[in-house]
């Protein structure tokens, strides 16, 4: 038998040094070949994934992805090129291609690097790199333990599999102001999906745990069991009546509503006039008890970074302040397009946290009285230009503040502006697995279309 380590040899520190030198190489080459300014992003990620199904191994996958992307500026023109090969020959080809493209693009007064004085200078270690040294056998054991706990729950018919994945990587950003930032990171996750069946047909559901540090993952058995509970509770689903009703969004779906808000206040949507929140800065969007901001320097968090994708120092932005739209989310480019200043958000928001009075979920249900709890959403029915919202859903019928029975094959519809204004309360049941942390959201009224 061969010893089979999950991890291919991966020395993150050596990789970091290599990428940093390749980035510098690309910058100096670009300058030499005629670029007035240049920026380079480079990354390498290594990961392992195992999946098991019905008590046996199904796949073992080793991944190693790398890439380098170069943007050059010649006067007010810009060109970009990238490659999954960061070797020296490839870097030369990428730089030359970017310069060739910049000869054909049009002039753009807003283009160029972020201002030099905005470059991040405070670059602390944010404690986001915790690789996991485990063998194939250990990984398979963990996935099997997870699946077995779920399959052991009475009523589960079969398994759609349990998967464990673990990865680490390095990313580097450098530009011709002399800025170079780099960061090592890791991410591990375990998930399980199960199937149950009754006379009404089959249902499946899943649960997962995800963290930067392996010790922060939930126990495999608890994920398996909770996947089983989530699957079983869907059996016997009916269709709700059509009407206007309050809707309670599960925390994992409430974070999606915050995501829609962030897309609408992102610079790119605003300067393209393709947002329902164009020209709304300073206006009231949410109830006055609701505030929302980002904490990019939070230690160990999912999206922590001291610099953004322009090299600009990240900062604690407040987007919603006591219900009012206090800030847009801007990169250097989108800020210039709008005649504003960057908010350090090239690449998006990092670690969104809300500031609101949190109440127990039961209290939200009680407040709702009669309505629907939504635990799953389907489809892409969100129009960012108008805010119109119409999505497929599954969940539970609520009567007298208590869950009555599962419901499925219905839609919920409204407009995001009305939904934000109609936010009645936020639950204490915060989901911390992603970069947006929130509890359940109770919305006063939406149109439910069902049977």
């Amino acid at each position: 038998m061969r010893e089979n380590r999950m991890t291919q040899a991966f020395d993150a520190i050596a990789q970091q040094q290599l990428l940093e030198s390749r980035a510098q190489q690309a910058l100096s080459l670009a300058r030499r070949l005629g670029a007035d300014a240049c920026e380079v992003g480079a990354s390498v990620d290594q990961g392992v994934g195992v999946s098991v199904r019905e008590g046996d191994v199904e796949t073992v996958e080793l991944s190693r992805d790398q890439g380098i992307a170069v943007t050059v500026y010649v006067g007010a023109r810009k060109g970009s090129a990238s490659s999954t090969d960061a070797g020296e020959d490839s870097i030369r080809a990428v730089v030359e291609k970017a310069l060739a493209i910049a000869r054909h693009t049009g002039e753009d007064a807003a283009s160029g690097l972020a201002d030099a004085e905005l470059m991040a200078t405070h670059l602390p270690d944010l404690d986001v790199h915790h690789p996991w040294d485990l063998s194939t056998e250990q990984a398979i054991e963990i996935a099997l333990a997870c699946e077995s706990a779920g399959r052991g729950v009475a009523g589960i018919r079969s398994s759609d599999g349990a998967s464990l994945s673990s990865g680490e990587g390095v990313r580097v950003y450098a530009n011709s102001h002399g800025f170079l930032g780099s960061q090592r990171g890791s991410r591990h996750s375990l998930s399980c999906m199960l199937i149950a069946e009754d006379e009404g047909g089959m249902q499946r559901d899943y649960d997962y745990t995800s963290a930067r540090h392996p010790r922060d993952l939930l126990a495999p058995e608890s994920i398996g069991r909770s996947a089983a509970e989530r699957t079983l509770r869907r059996l016997g689903a009916r269709r709700p009546v059509t009407g206007r009703l309050p809707v309670l969004f599960d925390p994992s779906l409430a974070s999606g509503l915050i995501g829609h808000l962030m897309s609408a206040i992102a610079g790119g949507s605003l300067y393209r006039q393709s947002s329902f929140l164009c020209d709304r800065l300073g206006e009231s969007l949410f109830p006055e008890w609701f505030s929302l901001g980002e904490r990019p320097m939070e230690m160990g968090a999912m999206a922590s970074s001291p610099f953004d994708n322009d090299g600009v120092q990240t900062r604690n932005n407040t987007y919603i302040d006591k219900g009012y739209l206090a800030s847009y989310m801007l990169s250097a480019y989108s800020a210039r397009r709008l005649g504003m200043a960057t908010t350090g958000n090239a690449g998006g928001a990092r670690n969104l946290r809300l500031d609101a009075p949190l109440v127990a979920r039961d209290e939200l249900l009680e407040k709702m009285g009669r309505g629907v709890l939504v635990t799953e959403l389907m489809g892409q029915g969100v129009n960012g230009v108008t805010g119109d919202y119409s999505r497929g859903a599954a969940g539970f019928w609520v009567e007298n503040g208590e869950l009555q029975y599962p419901i499925e094959e219905f839609t919920i519809a409204s407009n995001l502006q009305a939904m934000f204004k109609g936010l009645v309360g936020v639950g204490r049941d915060i989901d911390t697995r992603g970069s947006i942390h929130t509890g359940s959201w109770l919305i006063d009224e939406m149109t439910v279309a069902g049977g």
Binding site: S80, A93, T105, D108, S274, G392, E409
Partner: protein
């Protein structure tokens, strides 16, 4: 089109293997690293792709990019187990390392010797060309500016126009332990226009696009910049007038072409081999049974010339095929890759697809469409007292286990007393696949395929696909509007 497998193979080997010091003969040694005791199938998938994009905004092409990708993916199988590794280096060392890693999934068993290579003979479904080279950079920029000019001149309410031109030149080569040796050169181009119209304080979007597996020059020759610009403007103006959509259950008439996304979601995914082998599809175990109304025939067809979803050979080297899935309402076929076909005792159907060398292949759709029926489209509209007529959609999704599917209309109208009346705002439609297919009551004679815009996502992998259908009537579907 002619079949020249040797020329295709030699060309692919020149691009993929020679730079790293390899040739077709050396692939036997590469397979040898994977065929350790207990491995019953192994394959090597070599790929290189060149991707180009040009984006116009505010009347100028301000963004353009170029991406070079490539490498080798190595798979080892033993029964239901798969080991997978990849490298972006195509060298003897990389083959040895990825081969050893992928085969680590099994430890014992009999040793298999790879079968000698047999070159796959497949009909070529598109020309083996680099689609990026047919137009100069100046011509590409000019094409985008045509779209901008046409859209802005079409109506004073148009305030924003963005247009994009993208192309991919992809070369692949597959060598498998069952003797498969196949190569393919896959061009893919696309042109898109998106506009924002503002009027009386309302702001709406319209978009249109399309393309296929042909040279960029054909986009120019087909006047797509002008056609898609006009179509995007038309859609935005319609949406400016749209009223709230109804909520509840209604008869729904779907227009021809892109609304075939219904079939992709409601039927297609549920008939992919992996879900049926595992018994996780709502269609599992229903082969030979009625799963749709009489008159409903649905096929998956990789053989259409120059189509976005077409494949001369799939990503396991199996020739692309025409696969009937549902014939006159009866379930007759699944879409298979080699693994699932073998485990189900069926034949592969040329549906093995992967996003890239860095992803494992799975059974996937190619071009999925419903064949034409007998009904006159105008009669179908006339037959509806009160319902919805949906002609364009955003995207869709399906839960293959419960069969629930959704798709979101981006252009739809009310039908009142057999007449198309007011446009309504986009709404999500939801149903259950097998149930909805049983509610198809009229099938038009006007089969159309989409313009070439589909991307299908499955387990995080995106691949280009096509859909199509004639005008269809479903007696009842839930419409997710706001007017209850």
């Amino acid at each position: 089109m002619t079949t020249r497998p040797h020329a295709m193979l030699d060309a692919a080997a020149e691009i993929l293997l020679r730079p790293g010091g390899l040739d077709l003969e050396s692939l036997d040694a590469g397979l040898g690293h994977v065929l350790t005791p207990g491995v019953d199938y192994a394959d090597l998938y070599f790929q290189r792709s060149w991707h180009e994009s040009w984006v116009l905004e505010d009347g100028e092409v301000k963004e353009a990019g170029y991406n070079i990708d490539g490498g080798v993916g190595v798979r080892a199988m033993s029964g239901e187990k798969t080991g997978f590794a990849y490298s972006n280096q195509i060298t003897a060392d990389a083959l040895a390392e990825t081969g050893r890693t992928a085969s680590g999934i099994v430890r014992s068993g009999t040793s298999l010797t790879g079968a000698p290579p047999v070159i796959t003979r497949a009909t070529v479904r598109y020309d083996a060309i680099d689609p990026l080279s047919g137009l100069s950079a100046e011509e590409k920029v000019a094409l985008l500016k045509v779209a901008d000019g046409v859209a802005r001149a079409a109506d004073p309410s148009i305030t924003q126009v963005s247009a994009s031109l993208t192309g991919v030149h992809e070369v692949v080569l597959v060598r498998a332990s069952d003797g498969t040796l196949a190569a393919d050169v896959r061009p893919l181009v696309r042109f898109n226009v998106s506009v924002i119209a503002v009027k009386n304080g309302r702001r709406e979007r319209g978009s249109a696009g399309g393309g296929g597996r042909y040279p960029m020059a054909r986009l120019r020759d087909d006047n797509v910049a002008e056609r898609f610009a006009r179509e995007a403007v038309r859609q935005a103006l319609v949406n400016l007038e749209a009223v709230a959509a109804p909520a509840g259950q209604f008869p729904v008439v779907l227009g021809p072409g892109w609304p075939g996304i219904l079939l992709h979601e409601a039927v297609g995914h549920g008939l992919e081999g992996d879900f049926n082998r595992k018994g996780s599809s709502a269609f599992a175990g229903r082969m030979g049974q009625r799963v749709a109304s009489p008159g409903v025939t649905v096929v998956d067809d990789a053989t259409l010339a120059d189509r976005r979803g077409s494949m001369s050979v799939d990503d396991e080297g199996t020739p692309g095929q025409y696969t009937p899935l549902i014939e006159d309402g009866i379930l007759t076929g699944y879409m298979q890759d080699k693994l699932n076909a073998r485990l189900m005792g069926m034949a592969p159907t040329g549906n093995a697809r992967r996003e890239s060398f860095a992803h494992m292949p799975m059974p996937r759709m190619t071009n999925t469409y419903m064949l034409a029926g007998q009904d006159v489209p105008a009669d179908i509209i006339k037959s509806v007292k009160r319902g919805l007529y949906a002609v364009s959609f955003g995207g869709g999704q399906v839960d293959i286990t419960s069969g629930k599917f959704v798709f979101s209309a981006s252009e739809a109208y009310l039908i009142e007393d057999g007449r198309i009346t007011a446009p309504v705002k986009g709404a999500t439609l939801i149903g259950n696949g097998p149930e909805a297919m049983g509610r198809v009551s009229m099938v038009g004679h006007d089969l159309e395929l989409d313009t070439g815009i589909g991307v299908c996502g499955k387990e995080g992998q995106g691949v280009p696909v096509g859909v199509g259908q004639p005008t269809l009537k479903l007696d009842e579907l839930t419409v997710g509007g706001t007017q209850s």
